[in-house]
Symmetry: C2
Subunit: 364 residues, 2 copies
């Protein structure tokens, strides 16, 4: 293993000089010495020891990223954005996965603290459990008191810098758009009752319906993933109701729900409209393509890092809005299509020259 000292010796210069040309900031080094050092380093295959640098400088170049599930496109998009941003800053990213266990999140913060990560990014919904939140805050506090910076992508409940998606507003807008298609009776596949993201989206959706003078939605809880959506949809099918439109609080659940509906022989959107939330791009591909509220996920990852890297005293909050994207999975209710009310064709025509089934603009 080649060290700086080896390079210095081979170049016939001092340790300090070698350090200055290879890793130093100010370049007060003569041209010839510089060349000698550089050639010696190349010849010996010298690679800095970043851990030694961290120790000597008292600051590392690693960003710790904590997500819940790498397989979920929601998180892989955020992670991609964060990793690219870290790369732009010349930093490397250490990735930890909680598998949706809040306790693991705490353990990972401790691990990343041990790694001397310069910043820790926490992505994913916070929970409505004060005991958990207290333990999370405690671990973050010891990390921050050691100089660590923290940013959360999610709800602002930990006293950190936060990139906060406007879940309530996005769901509200979505409900308005769906009601605009003629729907009056809705169901919400509402996710787990403790997840703040699920709660906020459900609430926003319900508030819109209330404001429009429509009956409150039928709520069906379940897991926050594909199978949760599948199960919730199955339970919905087993109930007696007049629902014509279903809102799954995230895209994964919507995907599962779509599969379930297909198995039940329910035609989407003819028999039932279906929409999700997040805007993970895979939603273009199922048939029918799924309506959603699109969040700028990759950008949110980058924003979180930038937030954490520009230090301020008081924690800051940055909101990001979602954009309602109506696609083939939503259309007017069946009772409307035979009546005078028929705002637009529910399905795009097959057309070779058209772009891939991206988005139809939301109608207000």
């Amino acid at each position: 293993m080649t060290t700086l000292e080896d390079v210095a010796k081979h170049a016939g210069v001092s340790l300090a000089t070698a350090s200055r040309v290879l890793n130093g900031s100010s370049r007060h080094v003569g041209a010839d010495m510089r060349r000698r050092v550089e050639s010696a380093a190349a010849r010996l295959g010298y690679r800095v020891d970043a851990t030694a640098q961290t120790l000597a400088r008292g600051a590392s170049n690693v960003v710790g990223l904590v997500i819940q599930d790498l397989i979920d496109p929601y998180f892989s998009l955020i992670a991609d954005g964060a990793i690219r941003a870290a790369d732009r800053h010349g930093m490397v990213t250490t990735l930890g996965t909680t598998y949706r266990d809040p306790e693991r999140e705490i353990a990972l913060v401790a691990t990343l603290h041990a790694q001397r990560a310069r910043v820790v990014l926490l992505a994913g919904s916070r929970v409505a459990d004060e005991a958990v939140l207290r333990r999370q805050r405690a671990e973050l506090d010891v990390y921050r008191s050691a100089g660590g910076r923290v940013a959360v992508i999610g709800q602002d409940v930990l006293g950190t810098d936060t990139v906060a998606p406007r879940n309530r507003e996005g769901a509200y807008d979505l409900a308005v758009a769906l009601a605009g298609l003629g729907h009056r009776r809705f169901a919400v596949l509402a996710g787990p009752p403790v997840l703040l993201t699920a709660i906020d989206r459900t609430r926003g959706f319900s508030e819109a319906l209330a404001d429009l003078g429509l009956p409150p939605p039928l709520l069906v809880h379940g897991d926050f993933d594909r199978d949760g959506g599948r199960d919730a949809a199955c339970r919905l099918m087993a109930m007696d109701h007049g629902v014509t439109c279903v809102f799954a609080v995230n895209d994964l659940m919507a995907t599962g729900a779509l599969a379930a509906l297909r198995e039940y022989g329910v035609q989407v959107p003819r028999d039932l409209s279906l929409a999700g939330f997040d805007g993970t791009s895979y939603l273009r591909d199922p048939v029918p393509s799924l309506a959603t509220v699109r969040l700028p996920l990759a950008r949110m990852g980058a924003m979180a890092l930038d937030l954490a890297l520009t230090d301020e005293d008081a924690p800051r909050r940055q909101h990001v809005s979602g954009e309602v994207v109506l696609r083939d999975s939503v259309g007017p209710p069946a009772w409307a299509s035979s009546a005078a009310y028929a705002p637009s064709a529910p399905v795009e025509p097959a057309n070779p020259s058209a772009a891939s089934p991206e988005a139809r603009p939301a109608r207000p």
Copy 2:
């Protein structure tokens, strides 16, 4: 920031003792001292400095993982498997993304070397470019000569431990299964001509057709991602041919091809059968669900780490096989369905009690 020395002082013991109880291996420490150290550490919120440990021990606990694109499920599945395995070994994972640029892969190895990663995992297709391979080998050599361990998930062309998917064989088996449905004229959306993975899969497919006495497939090259598949399918549509079955050399391309075919009004599988390769689970959800060759991606990530962690002198190779999974996107050719030849129903019935559209077993 609390150091071991602080803990030692507060506990009234020596640095060495504190080190032994908190991070040491052998536990030759009295019970009372142990308790005092532990309580002091807890009280002060002590967290080890892993970078200092790395320096002192001369060995780190980070595994460096290099993938091409985190958004591609192929890589997020591998990464998930590798991260879980690293976690089991008490190691953390630093993730780098090349965006399919071989030069960036080299740079990332250097970065991870600087980070003093104990092992580096390289996932993704190698390229058929001797100049690139030489530079990659050179960088890996300096890393290994410094004590680093390397494993590759892909082709065994870098002289490293390797987890090698049987791409040729998987494509061969797929071709046999598709020919068994009655197809005689095939096209292959063959990906970039320099990607070994694309080459191997194309070759295996072609070999099977030759062995069966069928004409060679029509080859259409393009990028290795969704849009590449989309474009290739469009170009295929513009050609005059008697193709009844299309093989896209990875799932992403198959997904894009499916979208393109839909735009052209081509019914799958009635007008054209379509299959992919990789077995990323999202393929269950598009309609029709896509046939593929399923690789145990998460397990491959874990295998690579285990391989790199158990040191041997000679580089080893572990092959993994893919499993042909026929789904709704493949069926007998149109000319066969009206004739005597009709091996099975091409589409599963809509059935509420059935499982999600997983797999039909491959027919030999």
